[in-house]
Symmetry: C2
Subunit: 161 residues, 2 copies
């Protein structure tokens, strides 16, 4: 037995995020050493978050998903982008972003359930490649993705304005 | 002086790719140790490339760009995706993919001109982050991106089907 069961919690469902989930998603993005300095977790939330939600929600390439417990609590999130492109004989590729699980519920298979949903969805949409960037300091995350079949094949390069 | 001049060749222009550029773009994607096994550079090209071009060309998030020499020769390409998302206060982020320069014209500032176009475009579109994955073996590419202001901050994880 490891601390990351490979069978996800059957009481957790993955569904598309709704506008009323935005605050809890932002709270999860902010509850993180890297994310805390980037978000503004205020009540009410800055309107920029709702504006971004509306933009991504009508974008056919993007699926912002949440993990929901029985009872309705949102405990995880993930954004999947399916991107057309010419390479690999014109296969789309998938990009996974913003994977988060509520801090008190980590290591229970919820992240795995989210990522496995995304990989299956990418495959169903004809992608030949799923990619993501994880910060170099997130060694646990890298082990987690390797366990789910990913390879640390690339360097993720970023520039922030 | 380095082998990568920081002033791009003024006779090279960056423009949106057109359907008639698809074959030369695929040739550049295939002219690469990693890409050669993934592409099918046939005449005529497999229709999947044209289908993918049509999909990405009507996608408002995606700009497939080429570098064109005076005289009309296409000598480089890059795909820029602008992706809405909740993180960073709802700022979009930019993903750069499939940067290629014709092999006989490398180290002349063409890749730099393409990437600088993409970074400027991302900034103009309100992105706070530009990201890309470059294969771990592409050490020259990593140096190139660092020179253009990128940091090797992340691990790029991939799964291929």
């Amino acid at each position: 037995m490891t601390s990351h069961p490979s069978v996800a919690n059957s009481s957790t469902t993955i569904r598309r995020a709704r506008r009323e989930d935005v605050a809890i998603i932002v709270a999860m993005l902010a509850d993180d050493p890297l994310g805390s300095g980037r978000e503004r977790l205020e009540d009410p939330l800055p309107p920029s978050y709702y504006k971004a939600f509306e933009t991504l929600d009508r974008d056919p390439n993007i699926q912002l998903m949440v993990a929901e417990q029985e009872g309705g609590a949102v405990i995880g999130c993930l954004q999947l982008c399916i991107l057309p492109g010419l390479s690999s004989q014109g296969a789309s590729r998938a990009l996974i972003e913003d994977v988060r699980v509520a801090s008190k519920l980590r290591s229970q298979g919820i992240g795995e359930q989210l990522v496995q949903w995304a990989v299956a969805e990418a495959r169903a949409k004809g992608c030949k490649l799923v990619e993501l960037l994880t910060h170099s300091t997130r060694v646990d995350a890298q082990r987690f993705y390797v366990r789910l079949g990913f390879k640390a094949s690339h360097v993720g390069m970023t520039v922030r304005f």
